[in-house]
C-alpha cells in the first residue's frame, strides 16, 4: 500500500511534464523515424509506381555522389568559418563593451541590431543593397573613395559571383557576431571583481590579466557560444537559399536536402542525406550537451 501511495505521488509530480514530452515526441521523433524508413526506399515522387525497397543504396549514393560530398564539405567550411569569425569578433566587441564609456548602452543596442533583422531580410539586404555590382553600397563606397583620390574607374567587383561562399559567410558573421558578443559579455561581467582587483594590485598588466584570469574564466562561455552557434549555423537555410540559391558551390546540406526533395523529388535520397546530417549533428551535439551540462551542474550546485 505504501508503495502504491508513493507511485501516485510520483505520477502527480510527473504529470505536469507529460503534455510537453508527448507533444515533442510526436512532432519531432516520429517524423525522424519516418525519415529513417523512407531513406531505405528508392522513391522518386514523379515516378511513384517504381517505389521499391533499396536497402542502403541511397547511403552509398550519398557517399559516392561528388555533389553531395561537396555539400558536406561546404557545410563544414561554412559552419566553421562563420563560428570562428563571429566568436573572435564577438570577443573583441565584448571586451570593448565591458569598459565604461560614454553611451555604452547605446553602442550595445546598435551592436545587437544585426541579430534582430529577420534572417531573410538580412540576406536580401546583403544580396541587393550591399553586394549588387551596379548600385550596391560596397561598390558605391569604392566609387566614392575612388573619386576622392581622383580615380575615375575604381574596381567594381561582382561580389557574389567572384566570392560566393565568402559573400554568404560575411552576411552570417554579421548576423551572428552580436549573439557571441552577448554571451561573452555575460561571461565577462560574471568575473569575480575581487579577483580582478587583486590582480591589478599585484601589478599584473592588462595582457596578463586577460591571458591568465579572463580567458580561463571565459572558456565555458566560449565553448557555449561555439557549440550553440554551430548547432544553428549547420542548419542554416535562409542565407544560402536567398543569396546564391545554392549555386556556385555554396549548397550546404540543408539546402541540398531541400533541393533533392522539393525540386528533384528524390524522396529516398533526400531522406538519406537527412539521416547523415542528423548523425553529424549528433556528434557535435554530444559535445554541446557535455558543455551545457557542466555549466548547468555549476548552477545547480550554486542553487
Amino acid at each position: 500500500m505504501k508503495q502504491r501511495k508513493g507511485g501516485v505521488r510520483a505520477w502527480a509530480t510527473r504529470a505536469p511534464l507529460l503534455p510537453a514530452l508527448v507533444f515533442l515526441i510526436a512532432v519531432t521523433q516520429l517524423p525522424f523515424v519516418a525519415t529513417l524508413v523512407i531513406s531505405l526506399f528508392d522513391w522518386n515522387s514523379l515516378d511513384p509506381d517504381a517505389r521499391s525497397f533499396a536497402g542502403l543504396s541511397n547511403y552509398s549514393s550519398v557517399v559516392t555522389d561528388p555533389e553531395l560530398r561537396e555539400s558536406v564539405f561546404t557545410t563544414v567550411l561554412l559552419t566553421a568559418s562563420v563560428v570562428i569569425a563571429s566568436v573572435v569578433l564577438g570577443l573583441v566587441l565584448a571586451l570593448l563593451l565591458d569598459r565604461t564609456f560614454f553611451g555604452r548602452g547605446m553602442v550595445r543596442t546598435l551592436l545587437i541590431t544585426p541579430f534582430l533583422i529577420v534572417p531573410v531580410s538580412a540576406a536580401l539586404l546583403w544580396k541587393h543593397a550591399l553586394y549588387n555590382p551596379e548600385y550596391g553600397l560596397l561598390n558605391g563606397a569604392l566609387t566614392w573613395v575612388g573619386e576622392l583620390f581622383g580615380d575615375t574607374s575604381p574596381v567594381q567587383p561582382d561580389w557574389i559571383s567572384d566570392m560566393p561562399l565568402l559573400a554568404v559567410e560575411a552576411s552570417l558573421v554579421w548576423q551572428w557576431t552580436p549573439f557571441m558578443m552577448l554571451i561573452l559579455l555575460a561571461g565577462l561581467q560574471s568575473r569575480p571583481a575581487e579577483m580582478m582587483e587583486a590582480a591589478r594590485l599585484d601589478g599584473a598588466s592588462s595582457w596578463q590579466t586577460f591571458r591568465y584570469l579572463t580567458l580561463p574564466h571565459l572558456r565555458r562561455y566560449l565553448e557555449l557560444g561555439v557549440l550553440l552557434g554551430s548547432v544553428y549555423i549547420v542548419q542554416n537555410f535562409d542565407a544560402v537559399f536567398t543569396i546564391t540559391g545554392g549555386g556556385l558551390g555554396t549548397a550546404n546540406l540543408p539546402y541540398t536536402i531541400y533541393q533533392t526533395f522539393y525540386q528533384a523529388h528524390e524522396y529516398g535520397l533526400a531522406s538519406a542525406v537527412g539521416v547523415v546530417v542528423v548523425i553529424g549533428t549528433m556528434i557535435i551535439a554530444t559535445f554541446a550537451l557535455r558543455v551545457v551540462s557542466s555549466l548547468f551542474r555549476e548552477e545547480a550546485n550554486r542553487a
Binding site: A20, T28, I117, L125
Partner: protein, 298 residues
C-alpha cells in the same frame, strides 16, 4: 555593472586633481577604446541603417552608384509595398505570420510552464535526463523530419494551413522555452508555493496565481524569444505553405521574384517585416542572452 575601470576616479578632497602621467595615459587609452567601440557599433549597424535610408528614398535615388545621401526622403516605397500601386498587399502574409507566431507562442507557454514547474520546483527524479531530452530535440536538424511532415500534410489536406505551422513552431520552440523557464522558475521561493498548497490550491491555481506572477518577467522574455523564432522561420513556411497561409518571410522572397527588383521597395518591405522582431528583441534585451544560451548563462 561591476566592470573594472583602469582609471580610479580622482579623490574629491584634493582641490585640483593633478593626475600622474601613468593615470593620464590610461585615461586617454580608455577614451580611445570608447571611441573604437562607438565606431564598431556604428559599423555593425550601418547595413541596417542603410536599409532604412534606402527604404526612404525614391526608387531612382535608391539604386545609384555612388550612393546618394542627399536625396529627398519619401514614404512612397512603404505606400507601394502596402499595395498603393494596385499590386498584391502584404497584409494576409503579415497576419499569417502574426497568427502563427502568437498562437504557437501561447501553445508553447501552456505546455512549457507546467513542465518547467515540475522540473524546477517539484524536482522529478532524473530531472537532468529529462532536461537533456528536451535539449536534444532542438539539436535534431529540422530538415531531417521535413519530408515526412510534408507527406503527412499533403495526404491529410493540411498543406497551406497555418495551424500546421503553429504545431511545428511549437515543437521548434518548446525545448528552449522549457530550459529558459526552468531557470526562471528556480528563482521562485518554494515556501510561497508550499504555503499555497497547504491552503489547498490545485496545480493550475498555484501556477496561475502564485508562480506566474512572480516569474512574469522571465515568462515574458521566453514568449518574446519564441515569437521571434517563429516570425523568422523560412524553411517550413516555404515548403508547407503556398498561397493562403504564406508567411511574411515567404512573401518577402516573392517580392523580389515576381515583380523584379525595386530596391527601395525591397528595403521598405524588409524594414516592415523586421520591425516586430526589432521591437521584441530590444524589449527582451537583457533576458535575450539567457534565453538564447538556454538559461545556462545568467
Amino acid at each position: 555593472m561591476s566592470a573594472p575601470t583602469v582609471t580610479a576616479p580622482p579623490p574629491k578632497a584634493t582641490p585640483r586633481p593633478v593626475l600622474p602621467p601613468a593615470a593620464r595615459k590610461a585615461r586617454r587609452r580608455s577614451a580611445a577604446l570608447g571611441l573604437v567601440a562607438w565606431v564598431a557599433g556604428l559599423g555593425f549597424c550601418l547595413p541596417a541603417m542603410w536599409m532604412l535610408l534606402t527604404s526612404l528614398h525614391a526608387e531612382p535615388d535608391a539604386a545609384t552608384n555612388p550612393p546618394s545621401l542627399a536625396a529627398s526622403l519619401t514614404l512612397d516605397s512603404y505606400r507601394e509595398f502596402f499595395g498603393a500601386g494596385g499590386g498584391p498587399t502584404p497584409w494576409p502574409s503579415l497576419i499569417n505570420s502574426l497568427s502563427a507566431s502568437v498562437f504557437s507562442t501561447l501553445l508553447v507557454l501552456v505546455l512549457a510552464l507546467p513542465a518547467a514547474y515540475a522540473l524546477s520546483i517539484r524536482r522529478v527524479r532524473k530531472w537532468t535526463d529529462v532536461m537533456f531530452f528536451f535539449l536534444s530535440t532542438k539539436m535534431l536538424p529540422v530538415v531531417a523530419g521535413l519530408l515526412p511532415i510534408y507527406l503527412f500534410a499533403k495526404n491529410t489536406g493540411m498543406l497551406d494551413n497555418i495551424w500546421l505551422l503553429v504545431l511545428l513552431y511549437t515543437s521548434m520552440n518548446l525545448p528552449i522555452a522549457v530550459w529558459m523557464m526552468q531557470s526562471f522558475l528556480a528563482d521562485v521561493p518554494v515556501s510561497i508555493i508550499e504555503a499555497a498548497q497547504v491552503d489547498g490550491a490545485r496545480l493550475h491555481t498555484v501556477l496561475a496565481r502564485v508562480v506566474a506572477p512572480i516569474a512574469a518577467p522571465g515568462i515574458a522574455a521566453t514568449a518574446l524569444i519564441c515569437f521571434i523564432f517563429s516570425w523568422n522561420e523560412l524553411l517550413f513556411a516555404r515548403v508547407l505553405t503556398g498561397v493562403v497561409a504564406q508567411t511574411a518571410p515567404v512573401y518577402l522572397i516573392g517580392v523580389v521574384t515576381s515583380q523584379g527588383l525595386f530596391l527601395a521597395q525591397l528595403c521598405a518591405a524588409s524594414v516592415v517585416v523586421s520591425l516586430p522582431v526589432l521591437a521584441a528583441g530590444y524589449a527582451a534585451q537583457d533576458k535575450l542572452v539567457q534565453g538564447l544560451s538556454l538559461g545556462a548563462v545568467k
